[in-house]
Amino acid sequence: MHEEIIMAGFGGQGVMSIGQLLAYSGMTEGLNVSWMPSYGPEMRGGTANCTVIVSDSKIASPLTSKPDSVIVMNLPSQDKFSPKVKEGGLVVTNTSLIEKEVERKDVEVIKVPANEIANELGNTRVANMIMLGAYLARKDIIDLDTVKDSLSSVLPERHHGLIPLNEEALDRGFELVKEQVSVK
């Protein structure tokens, strides 16, 4: 198993956190993991992204130019990263903010109205967890429970009150896709 994922969105959409959450969960399951942020003076207010690699062998570069999957939370990110996905790879896209269709035909696209669902849950900020849940439903690399268990280690303590909400968000994303997939 070797999975390379890029997660991208506006600064503040929480893509870094879901990346760390995924990496941490991988580590708990005994896998090799790496997490690598894009860093530095990104244009302020521009996009943020990180790369996570989860693998059962040693990880060479924590960067990738041909990810297996991308999770994109806004349009600039979709424009930038969906062309990079491997043939046959996966794009999880946030349809709440992205109207545009992914132009490629050779990748699988999972559409998640993440902000809307998050709003339903009462907090836009968990849109990221919904995206991650959706991703995890499709890519069976890490157990959803491991991810939930990891929340308390990854979220800063002051946000621990929000763990149940985050769990719910993960579930919602997860279920959404499981349904879609089973429908298919």
């Binding site: 003076p41 244009m43 302020r44 207010g45 521009g46």
Partner: protein, 248 residues
């Protein structure tokens, strides 16, 4: 209909990369307007700092020279000595001017180097992600003062502008703020006077502008304006600190 306020000529079309609500942009506009009004765009060489304003050379539509961190006054000195008839300004942050570049600003000021310095005091290192600046306030939390700035260990919020005013070289030194339209207008007046001082050959001038960094202060742009007024202004009182001449 007649245009009463619009994008100044001395700015390029490039969008600022600053964070939403960051008053770096405001000061850029003022400088550009002054270049327009004094008709000096083609005579001016600006020196950009290392700091959030590092890309200032993409915004000002005049010749620009990027300096190394803190050394803008030295770079400007080199330029001005070669072109004493041109207008040379530096634009520096508080880390740039008041920390690493302390020696350079003190000596440029003391030499009365005929340049104009714009000193953006936002009480933080913006570009590098919110470390303590020498101007950071007592108790202020930053990534390098996670428990709040403790004066015993991390020193006092430095009064660079007061300090420089003691020297013989400067002609005009003032502190202004960019947190309200009224203060922004005053800031422009001071800045324009500083450029005029240079045009009149009076020597070194410096305008400190209290400025916001909503991102690294961790608050909304609006709240940043209030924070500036409430917490920064008492420590860094506004006004002229040195003025060898009245420019009408």
């Amino acid at each position: 209909m007649k245009k009463i306020a619009s994008y100044p000529d001395s700015l390029t079309e490039k969008h600022f990369h600053y964070c939403p609500g960051c008053t770096h942009g405001t000061v850029h506009r003022l400088i550009a307007e002054i270049m327009d009004e004094l008709e000096i765009r083609e005579e001016t060489i600006g020196v950009a700092p290392v700091g959030c304003a590092v890309l200032a050379y993409e915004y000002f539509d005049c010749d620009m020279h990027e300096a190394s961190h803190g050394r803008a006054p030295a770079v400007a000195t080199g330029i001005k000595r070669v072109h004493p008839d041109k207008v040379v300004f530096t634009y520096q942050g508080d880390g740039d001017l008041a920390s690493i570049g302390t020696a350079e600003i003190v000596h440029a000021a003391n030499r009365g180097e005929n340049i104009t310095t714009i000193f953006i005091n936002n009480a933080i290192y913006g570009m590098t992600g919110g470390q303590m600046a020498p101007t950071t306030l007592e108790g202020q939390k930053t990534t390098t003062t996670p428990y709040g700035r403790n004066l015993k260990e991390a020193g006092n919020p430095i009064k660079m502008t007061e300090m420089l005013s003691v020297l013989d070289g400067p002609s005009y030194i003032a502190r202004v703020s960019a947190h309200s339209p009224k203060h922004i207008r005053k800031a422009k007046k001071a800045l324009k006077k500083a450029f005029q001082m240079q045009l009149d050959g009076k020597g070194f001038s410096l305008i400190e502008v209290l400025s916001t960094c909503p991102t690294n202060w961790g608050i909304k742009p609006k709240d940043a304006l209030n924070w500036l007024e409430e917490y920064m202004m008492p420590v860094y009182p506004l006004g002229d600190l040195k003025d060898i001449k009245e420019v009408e």
